[in-house]
């Protein structure tokens, strides 16, 4: 853990006891986020991306719980905190942006009140100062005619504008880290580009770290510095975004990149998308060994029995027996 590390997630394991057995949607996930760094968490449905995010801010729904591992924010372990202590972390030190802006905002409260209430809760400032701050926050996220919009309600905003307000809310407590869970999935392409550029610009200016959860490889490529690829609750590959996307080492990452349409595999009549056979396994019937082995094109006998450990290979780090073989 270096001085620049803002968040360290170490061997995080989330378990949900059910009548049909204990599910482990997040299994020994480790990664770090530095100050001002944008880290992408990518994976398909069921990979455990959102649960990882909820576990970090202590928003897991019962009966899901962190069964082992730790989350450390600026040197302080926050994974064992009680509800009261967590309230001082959420909003103040970690801001959140979720997929659907309409459910993140209170429909019965004006935008200005929501922003200034948040500012007063976290910053110990007067009502007047909080209202000033709310106005500045709306101007920063590019809401036109911000002053007259302070007294407007969420339903009076369009989808893109609402998501800007949610970003303003997440940033108003001046947090060190933002967790953004599919922040642009509900938006149209042109608006998505606006919101992503905004998020990226503000976080760079304020040196805020971002954990960006998404399933879109294009968004990952354009927005993040480093990327964590999750598969069936485990880290498959982790590394610098450009290196992971251009020279992926894990067969799953390589398959995922090949399955995403891009100019190189789209044009020409003989172009063909790479396809990964099958689909993500359910948590109740996880394969033994490496969870990806039934779909993997380079499966070896050892993959069926042993879970590979994270091992550096070339420019990235992968959980794959190809890497353990190479380093042995």
């Amino acid at each position: 853990m270096t001085e620049h590390t803002l968040l360290e997630v170490k061997d995080l394991k989330v378990q949900i006891p059910t009548r049909r057995g204990v599910l482990t949607p997040v299994n020994e996930v480790s990664f770090t986020i530095g100050r001002g760094e944008i880290v992408g968490v990518v994976g398909e449905s069921g990979a455990g991306k959102s649960i990882t995010g909820s576990a970090i801010i202590g928003l897991l729904d019962r009966p899901a719980r962190i069964s082992s591992g730790s989350v450390t924010l600026q040197g302080e372990v926050i994974s064992g905190l009680n509800e009261e202590q967590l309230r001082r972390v959420r909003g103040k030190r970690i801001g959140t942006v979720f997929q659907d802006p309409l459910t993140s905002l209170d429909p019965l409260m004006s935008i200005g009140d929501q922003l200034s209430e948040t500012a007063m809760a976290h910053l110990a400032i007067s009502r007047e100062a909080a209202r000033e701050k709310a106005l500045q926050a709306l101007i920063d996220v590019g809401i036109p005619a911000a002053e007259s919009r302070l007294d407007a309600y969420p339903h009076e905003f369009s989808g893109g504008m609402r998501q800007r307000v949610v970003i303003a809310l997440a940033l108003i407590g001046e947090p060190d880290l933002i967790i953004a869970d599919e922040p642009t999935t509900a938006l149209d392409v042109s608006v998505q580009a606006q919101v992503l550029m905004l998020l990226k610009r503000l976080c760079r200016e304020r040196n805020t770290g971002v954990m960006l959860i998404t399933h879109d490889m294009g968004v990952i490529a354009e927005t993040t510095d480093r990327v964590v690829v999750l598969y069936a609750g485990r880290v498959a590959e982790i590394g610098n975004t450009e290196q992971v996307l251009t020279s992926a080492k894990h067969p799953y990452t390589r398959g995922l990149v090949g399955a995403t349409p891009n100019p190189a595999n789209m044009d020409g009549d003989n172009a063909r998308l790479n396809q990964i056979p099958g689909s993500m396994p359910g948590l109740l019937a996880l394969p033994t060994g490496c969870p990806f082995h039934p779909r993997c094109s380079e499966v070896m006998p050892v993959c069926k029995t042993e879970q590979p450990a994270l091992t550096p290979l070339g420019d990235t780090t992968i959980a794959c027996h190809l890497a353990t073989e190479a380093s042995a």
């Binding site: 392409v189 606006q194 550029m197 450009e242 995922l256 090949g258 399955a259 995403t260 998308l273």
Partner: protein, 327 residues
């Protein structure tokens, strides 16, 4: 042009979105209409894929529903292989209808959860083809195998399948009446990337093997680029540009098309910072005057506010923009 299967001429659809009568009387409001599709023209050549792309409210799904007959056009014509669907005899419409099928977006909502897969796939056979007994069973098995499922899957229910497999069932059902033309409304937007690739590849293989014609509706430009031969771009109900795929992506002519292509996230766009276009899609009930795109257009002229641009044809490309082909 010489071998077009589908021809759509000045197709329009207006929805009445007025408040109820009493509310209108009490608050003195007028009737309100929404022009979801506004004089759209295009043709689709046999055996090719025509993609309609646009953001929410652009009218893509309304066009799809009118082509398959789920909605009646307010005005305009739809010709399928020479038969005018808007103005033909009932018998002609019935015989044409079986040549058209549709694949829906949501593989969870579009399959009846209480029916077995073989009944779902068999329904179009019963409706359109005069086969029964062993012949019918053989056809269902063959269809399931054609889309990459096994004939044993026929006895299962939809909930036993993953999203990608359900979309395969949807495709098998669409193929059951031996159609020539399939309308695909966002068939992969609910699927994960790796499964999307499986379904897109399957659809391309089926097109090649069976000579199918697709109308492919999506908001995802990357999918368009992989699937389409010809692309039409919609904005608030109007077709603002249409061109062969390569031409459209290499040199988009309409400022909206340029914006759309620029805004789409790219897998190879590392650290790309681009100035995204201003504004959002306006309210379709009271769209901007003149060219609908003018309030967001970086290249707008004074005339754009007043004049509705006329479609200009150059080669196989058609553009509705005052900047183009005015001479």
């Amino acid at each position: 042009m010489n071998d077009s299967l589908i021809s759509v001429q000045s197709l329009s659809r207006v929805f009445d979105v007025s408040k109820p009568w009493l509310n209108r009387v009490l608050s003195g409001q007028k009737r309100q209409t929404l022009k979801a599709v506004d004089s759209v023209d295009f043709t689709i050549e046999r055996g090719t894929t025509y993609a309609l792309v646009g953001e929410s409210g652009s009218g893509k799904s309304t066009i799809a529903k009118m082509l398959v007959g789920l909605l009646k056009p307010t005005s305009g014509r739809v010709h399928i292989d020479g038969v005018d669907l808007t103005n033909a005899s009932a018998a002609d419409i019935a015989s044409t209808r079986k040549r058209i099928q549709m694949i829906f977006q949501d593989p969870y909502a579009s399959l009846n959860p209480r029916w077995r897969v073989r009944d779902i796939v068999g329904e179009p056979i019963d409706a359109f083809l005069n086969v029964s007994g062993a012949e019918r069973t053989r056809k269902i098995d063959e269809l399931l195998e054609k889309v990459g499922l096994s004939s044993k899957d026929g006895a299962k229910f939809p909930h036993e399948f993953s999203g990608g497999q359900r979309q395969r069932i949807g495709i098998a059902r669409a193929l059951a009446s031996d159609p020539e033309f399939i309308v695909c409304d966002e068939p992969t937007s609910a699927l994960d990337v790796s499964v999307q690739a499986q379904v897109l590849n399957l659809m391309r293989d089926l097109q090649r093997d069976l000579g199918l014609t697709y109308l492919f509706i999506t908001h995802d430009l990357a999918v368009v680029r992989y699937m389409a031969d010809h692309v039409g771009v919609l904005y608030l109900g109007r077709l603002i540009e249409s061109a062969p795929r390569q031409e459209l992506f290499d040199s988009p002519a309409h400022p909206y098309t340029q914006m759309l292509i620029n805004a789409a996230p790219r897998v190879d766009g590392f650290g790309r910072m681009h100035e995204a276009a201003d504004g959002e899609i306006p309210d379709p009930i009271s769209p901007p005057s003149g060219c609908h795109f003018h309030p967001r257009c970086p290249q707008r002229l004074d005339a754009c506010r007043i004049e509705v641009p006329v479609v200009q044809h150059t080669g196989r490309r058609a553009v509705s923009c005052l900047l183009h082909g005015q001479s």
